[in-house]
């Protein structure tokens, strides 16, 4: 097993290349919550096929990667209340904020977007607070 930072950096580069290609070729910002959310609330109705194709690639490609690299486990909690609360918070939060880690984090910071940088700082800080609160204080996770 290679050190985590090597896989982290190389995986990160692949994400950066994917976002670059999507922008240079299709003229679109690669944000996971925006691409999915626009399909769900129909605000992205006019390019729904393009969105669907992107999501299809995103969902299916790890299946191939697993065949080659092996090893796969999300280690997601089995506590159904935590899953539901977290899913709702992530779904509503990213749509209200108009972006998540890929949209605000990768595409926003690299463009020096004030909104993207602010959003990233806020969700990183709140993520840290969330861990302190739910893990350290309440022992829920």
């Amino acid at each position: 097993m290679q050190p985590d930072w090597v896989s982290g950096l190389s995986g990160g580069l692949l994400i950066g290349f994917a976002a670059s290609a999507y922008l240079l070729l299709n003229g679109r910002i690669m944000g996971a919550s925006g691409i999915l959310g626009g399909l769900i609330d129909l605000t992205g109705y006019e390019n729904s096929l393009e969105r669907l194709c992107f999501l299809l690639g995103l969902v299916l490609s790890p299946i191939l990667a697993i065949q080659i690299a092996g090893g796969h486990d999300t280690q997601l909690t089995s506590n159904i209340y935590i899953i539901i609360a977290s899913g709702l918070l992530v779904g509503i939060g990213t749509r209200l904020a108009n972006g998540c880690t890929s949209g605000h984090g990768v595409c926003g910071i690299s463009r020096l977007s004030f909104r993207g940088i602010t959003a990233t700082i806020i969700y990183l800080l709140c993520g840290v607070v969330s861990i302190i609160f739910f893990k350290k204080l309440l022992g829920l996770i």
Binding site: W5, S7, G8, L9, S10, G11, G12, L13, L14, I15, A18, A19, A21, L23, L25, N26, G27, M30, S33, I40, D41, E50, C53, F54, L56, G57, V59, L60, P62, I63, I66, H72, T74, Q75, L76, T77, S78, I83, S86, L88, V90, G91, I92, G93, L96, T101, S102, V106, C107, S110, F114, R115, T118, A119, C126, G127, V128, S130, I131, K135
Partner: protein, 138 residues
């Protein structure tokens, strides 16, 4: 052609997320756990993704338009507003709680078990009802 490219970019994004270890929720929670057993991997993932993307944004200033469409996305108005701040706070809390954000949640659908499906389902429900909630924040 645009759809084919979308399929390719989504695929590359998914492999990148998988390779980087971001579909493993303990790595994400480890990154946020700065007072515990801190895991710096996410910093490498973000830097690896931001560097090529910063170069790409510079290229977009030099070429007139994307290859297959008419224009690059314009920078939206750079004002901070309540939805951005409240939404990012909610997202951060949820992100820490499970260790999943929308990209990895979708990339891990094929192997994430019922837990992953459940997360995706509730996230989609949240997205569906966001327009109703957004009205109260204006």
């Amino acid at each position: 052609m645009k759809n084919l490219i979308a399929l390719f970019c989504g695929g590359l994004f998914g492999i990148g997320l998988f390779v980087s270890g971001m579909t493993d929720t303990t790595k994400v929670q480890g990154w946020l756990d700065i007072f515990g057993n801190w895991d710096p991997t996410l910093a490498f993932v973000l830097s690896g993704a931001i560097i090529p993307m910063a170069i790409t944004w510079n290229i977009t200033k030099r070429i007139k338009k994307p290859i297959f469409t008419d224009r690059f996305p314009e920078k939206t108005e750079q004002k901070l507003n309540r939805p951005l701040i409240i939404g990012s706070m909610m997202f951060g809390m949820g992100w820490g709680l499970s260790g999943l954000c929308p990209g990895p949640a979708m990339a891990s659908l094929s192997f994430g078990g019922w837990q992953g499906l459940m997360f995706f389902f509730t996230m989609a429900i949240g997205m569906l009802f966001t327009p109703l909630i957004a009205k109260y924040l204006k």
